[in-house]
């Protein structure tokens, strides 16, 4: 009986790595969104014009979500490609 321990370990490792990275990136996106909200509220309070922090946070959030979306699209291409 030939058991592909290598493939098994690889599957486990890749699964762990991908899951943890995707969820971490997504969580960072969520954190950035929540920072932006905080920045917006702060701006309203102070009446200041500049919200560079808020914009940066929004851009960061979009980058994070785009990365997650890319991972999903890649996953879909794996199942559809066969």
């Amino acid at each position: 009986m030939h058991i592909k321990w290598n493939a098994l370990a690889q599957t486990a490792g890749v699964s762990f790595g991908v899951t943890v990275s995707v969820v971490a990136v997504f969580a960072l996106g969520i954190l950035a969104l929540s920072r932006r909200e905080a920045a917006l509220t702060a701006r309203e309070g102070e009446g200041a014009q500049s919200s560079a922090g808020g914009k940066l946070a929004l851009a960061g959030a979009y980058t994070c979500f785009a990365l997650c979306a890319a991972a999903v699209v890649y996953g879909l291409s794996l199942i559809a490609g066969k």
Binding site: V14, A24, S34, V72, I79, K82
Partner: protein, 393 residues
């Protein structure tokens, strides 16, 4: 098409019935955590799952050219009677575990049924036991741990990263994420599981000469298999959804997203690497990992234990039932009729029993109104919490 005999028609209908129970049984995989955290309303969740299961059926038909990925030796003389018996055992086991609210693997039920029926109908040489170990048993043991570990790590990280964010907007964000992660599971499920039914129908047609050897599934087979699994998914195995969403652990949006991502990743990675595994076990493992990964997270171990027993039992139990069914079906028309009658009567009886304590979209998240059911001997030793005894209604 004109060569389809009565038996072949029965096999096709039974295969679609199995496909229906498969969808019905496995709705929980994608929908349970999304429903439990409130990311999606119950009816919406099962509708999305049903649509994506149907769509998934069209994504690929590669698996559908074999019944079992080499688990039974299809050339050794697997004929429609055996397939019918295998399906009968798998359907009965699926319904029994649904009645008890236990998420067991529909694929294992089908494989168990095929193995049992093949041993009786063809002999031991009809089953490739090496493949059974490498393709079913090892992935079955490993995959819940892999999914659980990944989900545990992801949950820990998700909580750590968002610790400083606003809780309300964080939860909302993860709920939105859950819609995508649970959708991915549904799509992958449709691709994998609907194809098993397509494979069975196609090979039955090939075995009686209605289709040439090596034929791809005809469109009506793809549509009806996708339709059956989607309909089953839409009906929703609410008992199992309740067990998985509310029974194993108290799941929040971060945990739901982590466990769904882990499950989707493990399913996609391993099907890419050629390991067929149980969506159900992967998703349950993911939920367990997420349950443990949260701050102050805990699991209801008595339910975990009962689930694991059921997983271990699925293959042999479905095999035993199908073996018996094969013994009857080989006797000729009256045997097939008898198996059919037992199948219909058994399914009907389990449906009637389920009506005594219905679980549906309206009360799926409600675990308090359920009367406790008997606790298994092993679980009784460890003084189960009240919550753990309510879930198997």
């Amino acid at each position: 098409m004109e060569h389809i005999s009565f038996l072949v028609a029965v096999v096709i209908i039974t295969a679609l019935a199995f496909d229906f129970t498969n969808g019905f049984h496995d709705t929980a995989n994608a929908a349970a955590t999304a429903i439990a955290t409130g990311a999606l309303r119950p009816k919406v969740a099962v509708t999305i799952a049903a649509v994506l299961n149907f769509a998934g059926a069209f994504l690929s038909v590669k698996v559908a050219t074999t019944i079992s990925g080499g688990i039974v030796n299809e050339k050794a003389g697997v004929h429609p009677e055996i397939i019918f018996a295998a399906l009968a055992g798998a359907i009965l086991w699926n319904l029994l575990t649904w009645l008890r609210g236990l998420p067991s693997s529909s694929s294992h039920a089908l494989y168990g049924g095929l193995i049992g029926a093949t041993i009786v109908g063809v002999g031991m040489n009809g089953v490739n036991f090496d493949t059974v170990v490498t393709k079913i048993i090892i992935p079955a043991v490993a995959s819940p741990f892999v999914a659980g570990l990944a989900s545990w790590g992801a949950t820990k990280l998700a909580y750590a990263i968002t610790r400083k964010g606003r809780d309300a907007s964080t939860e909302k964000g993860f709920k939105t994420g859950q819609i995508f992660s649970s959708s991915l599971i549904s799509l992958a499920h449709g691709t994998n599981d609907a194809q098993k039914t397509m494979g069975i129908i196609t090979l039955t047609l090939v075995s009686v000469g209605a289709l040439p050897h090596g034929a791809l599934p005809p469109t009506w087979v793809i549509v009806s298999a996708g339709g059956a699994i989607a309909l089953g998914t839409y009906m929703g195995g609410w008992r199992i959804i309740r067990s998985m969403g509310k029974g194993l652990a108290d799941i929040g949006p971060r945990q739901g997203f982590a466990s769904e991502s882990a499950a989707a990743t493990v399913i996609l990675t391993s099907s890419h690497m050629g390991f067929g595994l149980s969506t159900t076990q992967v998703c349950s493992g993911g939920i367990m990992g997420a349950g443990l990964g949260a701050p102050k997270g805990r699991l209801r171990w008595s339910l975990v234990r009962r689930m694991v027993y059921t997983w271990g039992l699925t293959l042999p139990a479905a095999g035993l039932v199908s073996g018996g069914a094969a013994l009857l079906a080989e006797q000729g028309t009256w045997g097939i009729a008898l198996v059919g009658a037992v199948l219909v009567a058994g399914s009907g009886a389990m449906w009637m029993i389920s009506r005594r304590q219905p679980v549906g979209a309206d009360n799926v998240n409600d675990v308090s109104d359920v009367t406790p059911v008997e606790v298994t001997a092993a679980a009784g030793v460890n003084a189960p919490t009240p919550a753990s005894t309510t879930v198997a209604a």
